[in-house]
Symmetry: D2
Subunit: 343 residues, 4 copies
């Protein structure tokens, strides 16, 4: 029995033991609330070590919170935000970006979740024309919602182009650790060093209980961010517990270990599944997601034992996510089941 284990999402997994240890460890005595405590200071220091001294760091609760508040800091309500049609900010945040920033989201259809300069260029008009939402931000996701990654050079191309027109670049990094692991580069190489202005640095999907960080590589953007965060209902009173988790995530490269493991499990799953007749992998498997076309008649039965989501009902395309706690046994059990159903 798999005891509810599955491939639905990397947020179905629990908290990594090292993170849980950290939570237990900081649970002593009193500290000033709202971030003015030594644990928060220490965690920010570790993040700066990873991303550069110039970065400004703010913790929030959720990925949607990180994305929306980050965009808010970078926009006026008459701006537009250019993003992929599959992006989380467009598909999975119930319109929170529009509601909270007032901005218009302009989307590009992509084959693999990745924006290109050409896709962005299409929206680069109407500058200074008051009838037109003013292009303000390009938002990309790394790794993408389709399990693919941008190379540092690809990001640089987008950010150079955006900056040349006065736009800012936001990166939804709910799975940035998986991307860095996949590319075998530092977190800095695909953010600060590639021209990113604002990063949603994801923690929850990589072994935390809760908590994301917003990083501003352009410190002038964060000048008023403390008000945005408070008014955005994302200021934690007992901040030490978010800080402790990030501290643990950055200690001993836990972020990299967790992400590498999840990626490897996806690789293993894709390799085993693609060897089964009737299964077609539909996207490059670069991080911890596997997209596959499978016979529709077996989906419901599979889901009973290992839950996962249908991505595209018409195409009979499904999404399998692995996580820091997926095991080779999970993969074996699941691919055995697959083979069995497809016999």
């Amino acid at each position: 029995m798999n005891k509810g284990r599955g491939f639905a999402s990397d947020n179905n997994s629990g908290v990594h033991p090292a993170v849980m240890d950290a939570l237990n460890r900081v649970n002593e005595g009193h500290v000033i609330s709202y971030g003015d405590d030594p644990y928060t200071g220490a965690a920010i220091k570790k993040i700066k070590k990873e991303f550069g001294d110039n970065v400004e760091v703010f913790f929030v609760f959720t990925g949607t919170g990180a994305n929306v508040l980050g965009l808010r800091a970078a926009t006026e309500s008459w701006n537009s935000v250019i993003c992929a049609e599959t992006s989380h900010i467009h598909c999975d945040e119930c319109g929170a970006p529009e509601f909270f920033t007032g901005c218009k989201l302009l989307t590009a259809a992509t084959p693999d979740g990745k924006l290109t300069v050409d896709m962005v260029r299409r929206y680069m008009h109407g500058f200074d024309f008051e009838h037109h939402s003013q292009p303000g931000v390009v938002s990309i996701t790394q790794a993408t919602e389709m399990g693919t990654v941008y190379t540092p050079a690809e990001i640089r191309k987008i950010s150079d182009y955006a900056h040349s027109l006065g736009l800012l670049v936001h990166l939804d990094g709910a799975r940035i650790c998986n991307a860095a692991a996949s590319l075998d580069v530092s977190l800095r190489a695909i953010t600060a060093d590639a021209g990113i202005d604002i990063l949603s640095f994801g923690g929850t999907k990589n072994g935390l209980m809760y908590g994301e960080a917003i990083l501003f590589f352009n410190p002038s953007l964060s000048r008023n961010f403390k008000y945005i965060r408070k008014q955005g209902m994302q200021l934690a009173s007992k901040m030490r517990y978010i800080a402790a988790q990030f501290d643990a995530l950055l200690a001993g490269e836990l972020w990299l270990k967790n992400a590498s493991h999840a990626n490897a499990m996806a690789r293993m799953l894709a390799d085993k599944a693609s060897a089964i007749p009737g299964i077609e992998i539909t996207q490059k498997v670069q991080v911890n997601g596997v997209f596959a076309r499978i016979p529709p008649e077996i989906i419901a039965e599979l889901q009973k034992e290992f839950f996962f989501y249908i991505w595209n009902e018409e195409a009979s395309e499904v999404r399998w996510m692995t996580s820091w706690d997926t095991t080779a046994d999970d993969i074996a059990a699941f691919t055995d089941l697959l083979k069995n159903k497809l016999k």
Copy 2:
């Protein structure tokens, strides 16, 4: 040495061991995210047992989130919300209620943080007049920000009056457990049974790591709340960890033990402090806050050893909060220090 212990706020304390145990206990395996898991179901069941079967329950992250989203569910943007001048929604949420709901907050000066029907009545005009923000909600805080409590009858008077005019009643219950403990009544007696429509049921200040619940006693109000919560960036992916904390809080009446203890410590502090010449207690001490007028010249020195906040600089009035983990030793050490400074 007090190791940073103090009386700044009940959110400077940590997580109660039983709550931490619960977090450790649910940290196993995979569960569906966003609340569709057995832990969340179990916690909601416990809450319903406490508050009544008709209540609808939604977990969020912060007290501001609970207040603002609860008000959003109860209002249209052209409504006004009547509240005390000292209320958290007016003073301490950086305008989040106005920003997120669009509503106007109308405030009443109170001697003790408590609204009365007469104070509300002043704003009951302009109904149906389109130039005027339409009175929509009365919001009260229990226990109040001044450390006082409403009796069930006092709440009932306000809610009957509000309902008679078509308004709803919201209760900011960041410290509702302290109020119930002080009044020696059930949580239901000062909410569902007293006519409250929406409750922000606080957890963080009473021993949780994070997490509040929004309770709708009028289920029609919660019909669209799942969208409000998601768009409000307060939907937790790993919901089981908020649920587990509330489960622990309600198990074996931990909520009551924690709150009673904090209240008793405040009582002890007030008693000892009021016996010291030069110190005047300025509000009734009904829950876990003590307001006192003390000589201004000793404030800074006291704060070095036991941190607390100045409430009213001109009046030299300070606020001392106790919490579930305040000890008699803390009180003794602090009052000894007080005596010493005032010799």
Copy 3:
């Protein structure tokens, strides 16, 4: 000399003499402000005669105001609005719909500015799923921004489909009079009788000085609209002057005469222009707009004498709008110039 006459937009023209007369006529004595006056009553009566007794009518100032406030009345902030990629609400309102309603706009690429059921269907998923903006409204423009019209049957198909899924249908009728004239049907036939729920009934582009009307064919939608209009800053104090203009527009079918004339002028322009080698008409000419591909090198010179806008720079496509006051002489002078430049 053309004295600044041109084909830039139907809002470059002035006020029809009969409308100006009406303004002069009502300019006497005192009347209650904000719409509680006999002139407003009389104008609404005329509108009801045209559209049906069940309609609720509210005057506002601008077309953007009418669209945005109408959408507001029909949505919650977590809804999405499906519209054509070329729609005014998406392209020409500086994000006011997103800002004021909080909703997400979902756009469909169209060949001719017209939505179809198939285009709408693509977005009909994610119902009841809190991560997803809930499909709430289909918004179409009649006549479209591309100078084309929907037949009553085409509108009915869309509204039946939308209603079958619980969505409402909004019609941006900035040029609805031109559409009715073109189709030779009543205003009611393409609104109330075709299943439209909310209409922005345009006046300014058809000979008024200012003023649009919002019509609710589903009166329950207008229940709170007076607050939406006031909070939306679109409540006129001296309402009689908007009312008088609409009264004049509906008297003696002035709306139809103005629109028919503008349409005929566009027809004439298209006929003459299409006979000139080097000019290609790119859209059906069904109302008062002509879209044409012309040699890029002559555009700037033409604009000096008759101003108009470039629609698509890359395709060298321009837009010529006629209006109630365009004359056959204007057309002749302009097409002579065209011929001359293309010799």
Copy 4:
């Protein structure tokens, strides 16, 4: 017969003949829409002559639009706006300021509608504290809603104080012409020269059909205002007609003549009414409003012949507004009626 004449509001009157003439005069031929026309240029030039070359001018439709958009330009959503409890922005705009800016309005009770530095000072705390809405703007009304005026020195005191703390000063000038007439000073003396940053320059209540202007004396504030106006649904397409009205208002000091006349009529009404036993004038009569306590039993009967509003039902206090078209005969007829009823 008074033919519906009364003292309800200065917006119950019609359009001054010179303004109507101007509307008729500009109604010829085509001009570019949205303000890029010679009439708009000319009107702005006249306004600059009156207020100073540095001012930036934008026309909008309504007084609420002018106030709200002006505040929007001066604030971030986490700011507070300090104003009198009787101010139009607080009482009569259905929460539009909160909805559109996100800001919190903080009000001061005043005896006469006038803010003082002491009233503002009360709210000058919590700077830099993220839990607290940051004081951003002081908004005063000139003439006030109570019919009183600030002297230039009184305004200067407030603006100096506000500026010393980094706040901006907004002036709701729906009746600024009446104030200037009353004080016998230029419009500039009570705005630009007194330290005002943003002015809502009212037209509608002083003889226009519709149209207000927003003036920025600090041009950096208007940098993005064109987007705010468009997104705020207050950009007129046929701008020439607002411009023509302002042009007429400033030509030959019509603004002053209209306002002086209205003021004189109020003075006359107050003088005659106060001579009648049983009537008590309750506010200084400095502009075109008279506040009076009259026996409650005669109110309804009076209103049948000359409509006016009850200001304070409990106190039996009423408000009588005069306007540019009030005549000495109106006053005589009304005061005769008063005398008659009080015999």
